[in-house]
Amino acid sequence: MPKEILLGDEAVALGAVQAGLSGAYSYPGTPASEIMEYLIRVSDGGRAFHAAWSVNEKTAFEEALGCSFSGKRAFVSFKHVGLNVAADPFMSAALTGTQGGFIVCSADDPGMHSSQNEQDSRFYAQFAQIPCFEPADHQEAYDMTREAYDLSERLGLPVMVRLTTRLSHSRAGVETRPARPQNPLHRGARECWTLLPSNARVRFKRVLEMQAELVGYAEASPFNRLTLNARDRRLGIIASGLGYNYVMENFPEEPSRPSILKISTYPLPEALIRRLVANVETVLVVEEGFPLIEKALRGMYGIPGKMIIGKLGGELPLQGELTPESVRAAVGLAPLERQSAEGFPLADRPPQLCVGCPHADTFKALKAALAGQPEAVIFSDIGCYTLGYFPPHNAVDSCVCMGASVGMAHGAAMAGLHPSVGVIGDSTFGHSGITALLSAAAADARMVLVILDNGTVAMTGTQPSFSTGRRLLDVVGGLGIPKEHIRVITPLPKFHEDNARVFREEIAHPGLSVIVAVRECLEEAKKKNKSGGAQ
């Protein structure tokens, strides 16, 4: 069988392609971006299948849902917080069900390597009452994605594939199988897809009635494996996702291994859990993310006569990602001997804006304009420019979620805060800023919105932006903001004085102003003109 070295993200993508994928959609976000980058790379310019970035995750989800409605196999991927944006169609897609197989791939970022929060997408699958696969390695990422398509079509439900950062961004060999052909067109039935209350009640009842079948699937799935150790009944481990790898890392030799139930599909395989619990005195639950399995086991009263340990018991940390060491401690093994740089001042090296980044020049001019006004607030947003929080810029007072800068600046202005400034990138503005700016324009809120138009989605690897250049200016103009208060600047050191003056003028204006700072991202320019050694 052919073996390819793939990122976990790419293993899912290739699994989807070889399962007969017809349409895939996404919005960039770490650690999920590489899924769509791979899909676009192998889509042969759209001739093999359609793969495209969308303006945001909700749109991506709906585009994929339309593909599924058509009878074709559809795919949508995003980072965990992207599922918040897509939560509206996500929850209702469980009711419409699917025509062509539909996979929702959500990549969680425990430890917040590149995120504003920690979430566990398994709870969303549980919330919508749809099946979820959680691969532990690259081969499973590929195999489960293929299986998830078959399951989705068999059940007529969307299926989630949950990834976490370490699998998304690790590479390993994957054995692939021959590709399945794509589905023919075969549209969905209107009574299933039109969620009027009379239809929706029927569809929701269907989802509820399927739950026992889903548990049965999990109990029979070869991806959920129970291995009992009849000689040693003291400890049993329930491990899911990467947690399973860390358990195995610490018990490489089979004879010393406690009983282990590997869980890779949800809803939980209840019969397998009961068998493990019956066989052991103490159950350790090792799962990446929130304690979903552990909570289900504990319930309110626990299991009489059994100890349940894990994140809720404090044996494993509730926050951050699991590590081989944290799992080692939880199973009661002594730490490995290791070297140490203790006593040496290991200064942190946080990420920072590139030298010469246009955002730095914008922040410098904005700060100059706001000098002497300590009450001024700069609401920022999601992107490289959030790094303006750090010295020497010290130019960011908030970062919450995609688009929040606009609504928060508006809300703070209405509360009486002045100057109230929002700072948002061009792609983030397209993603979630437009509607909030329409709201601010209708109110002529006393605020300044700075749109940093660097022409790309920089932080995640320079994916294309939908709302840049002329189109961005047309959109802003079309919202009904007076032309004289839509200003365009070029953030370069030589224009510093002029730019600071523009900021001062618009901050003094008693209504809404938008200042668009236009200069190409350095990374984007480098990509266009690639040469040199390091990459």
Binding site: S114, M248, R338, A347, R349, P351, P391
Partner: protein
């Protein structure tokens, strides 16, 4: 070193120094040698000038964890001296550090450089190479990562010839000049560590 059954390597540096290129060369060479490979990477925010690592695990047997456990690493290979020390608690007793001596100073509290080099020199078996000077001699200051690959070559599980093959694969597409500079850089690193 082919008698080894497994090797765990921490690659370290600063975002933009070409850590992932080094990982590509080593894991491609290991695959050619029939080894199992897992390579954990850092993407996203940290790549903007922050501390960057890659955990590279090579083995004749199945590899479980994508992350190297603390105390398991055989080798820390770093393009930057402070970053070499940052991950010292991953190194097993008897493990080795191969690092550049060229500091990448983009933070205000960068430690005293002489003290830093002295701390690394005190580690038994450590190899310190002036990657900046060697890269410049090789024809491009951007080949420091390849200099360090050369410096570590004799300690790596995949053979040197294989490593060089994949330096070629990696840089061929960037044109003759860049390829030649990288091949010279590899040799220079190897000589410096000899």
């Amino acid at each position: 070193m082919s008698f080894l059954r497994k090797q765990d390597i921490i690659l370290a540096g600063v975002g933009g120094q070409g850590i992932l290129s080094m990982a590509f060369v080593i894991d491609s060479a290991a695959l050619q040698d029939g080894l199992h490979v897992k390579q954990a990477e850092v993407h996203g925010m940290a790549q903007r000038g922050g501390a960057v690592t890659s955990h590279l695990r090579l083995s004749r047997e199945r590899i479980w964890s994508d992350q190297i456990p603390r105390g398991e690493a055989d080798l820390i290979l770093s393009v930057e001296p402070l970053e070499a020390l940052r991950y010292l608690d991953f190194l097993k007793p008897g493990g080795r550090v191969v690092t550049s001596s060229t500091p990448f100073v983009n933070i205000p509290d960068y430690p005293d450089q002489a003290g830093l080099v002295a701390r690394i020199k005190a580690l038994p078996g450590s190899v310190i190479v002036d990657s900046e000077a060697l890269a410049k001699q090789a024809g491009s200051s951007r080949t420091q990562n390849t200099v360090m690959l050369g410096a570590a070559a004799k300690f790596l599980l995949p053979g040197e010839a294989r490593l060089k093959d994949f330096v070629r694969v990696l840089f061929e597409r960037r044109g003759e000049k860049i390829l030649e500079a990288n091949l010279r850089a590899f040799e220079a690193g190897k000589q410096a560590a000899a």
